[in-house]
Symmetry: C2
Subunit: 154 residues, 2 copies
DNA sequence: ATTTTGGTTCTGTAATTACAGAATTAAAGA
DNA sequence: TCTTTAATTCTGTAATTACAGAACCAAAAT
């Protein structure tokens, strides 16, 4: 396909984005390739060629990305190759999960509060205040998403 | 102070939580120690003793945690030690930053959409739909936080 | 039957991470 | 002034990460 320089740059940018989330660099770049790719789907071989990485690295990456639901593949009749792509429909729920992951800190802090007892009224008070905030956000995020769905559904 | 077993377990749990966010294990455990500590503040020495780590590790950790605004210290008259603690007031804005960090993916995807051109109507459509979703969340999160503040302010 | 294609698995390694330990410094106390 | 205390900085290293490369395997094509 011969990717443009701009697209190659974007792949790297997307790679860095996912690396920041704790993923291996290549994993994110594969996602990037699928995003910028004209067909929005790539074969094993295309990944190897376009990203200049080894087959083993691609194999491991695809195994991981499929296991975590980030990537799926489909086949074409009379073609042995797998066509890997991003299940875009899952992106919204992925985003919701990510948001909820952040507010999961609430559970730990709740335990902290119990364990602290009545030892330090001032600090306990700040802690409770922050807990109230997280609990609020935790409750409102699903409401927000519901609101979006309803708004879109009409 | 002799921390309880439960508190020690909590410190580890908090450590893992922050490790998941990309921090070094020790960094999270220091935050954990401050959270469960009776005084909610600890000296350099206490960190070394309670967590059984080297001074160098603690020094590096505190430098990083202070540089990123996760930890601050104050001093006491006639006492050379620094008392490190969590600036709880900043927790709320930290959480907001974290939430907004997630939806930063929007900016990259916007570039992707531009670069893709009119090459694949189907995929571009799913991409646009997801972009609408992120943009909605991105707009509503500050609104949500404003709502919380107002509600609390009364 | 054997060669090719598409992909996996195993082994090794350069680079990075997450510390420990020792030497060092800077300020306060004796 | 010399020592102690509080913390930093430098050096080294065990463990982990993120791959490459080669061997391998299974299904399909010849």
């Amino acid at each position: 396909m011969a990717l443009s320089e701009k697209k190659r740059a974007l792949i790297e940018k997307i790679g860095v984005h996912f690396e920041f989330k704790g993923m291996q660099p290549l994993f994110g770049r594969i996602i990037g390739l699928m995003l910028v790719h004209e067909r929005a789907e790539v074969t094993f071989e295309e990944i190897v060629d376009e990203l200049n990485v080894s087959k083993s690295a691609v194999s491991n990456a695809l195994t991981f990305l499929q296991a975590t639901g980030k990537v799926a593949y489909h086949t074409k009749p009379g073609d042995r190759k797998r066509y890997f792509h991003l299940p875009m429909k899952d992106f919204t729920s992925d985003m919701e999960k990510e948001l909820m992951e952040i507010v999961k800190f609430e559970e730990v802090l709740e335990e902290v509060l119990v364990e602290r007892g009545e030892t330090n009224a001032d600090f306990n008070c700040s802690l409770k205040e922050f807990l109230n905030f997280i609990k609020f956000i935790k409750m409102e995020i699903p409401v927000l998403i519901e609101k979006y769905k309803r708004q879109k559904g009409l």
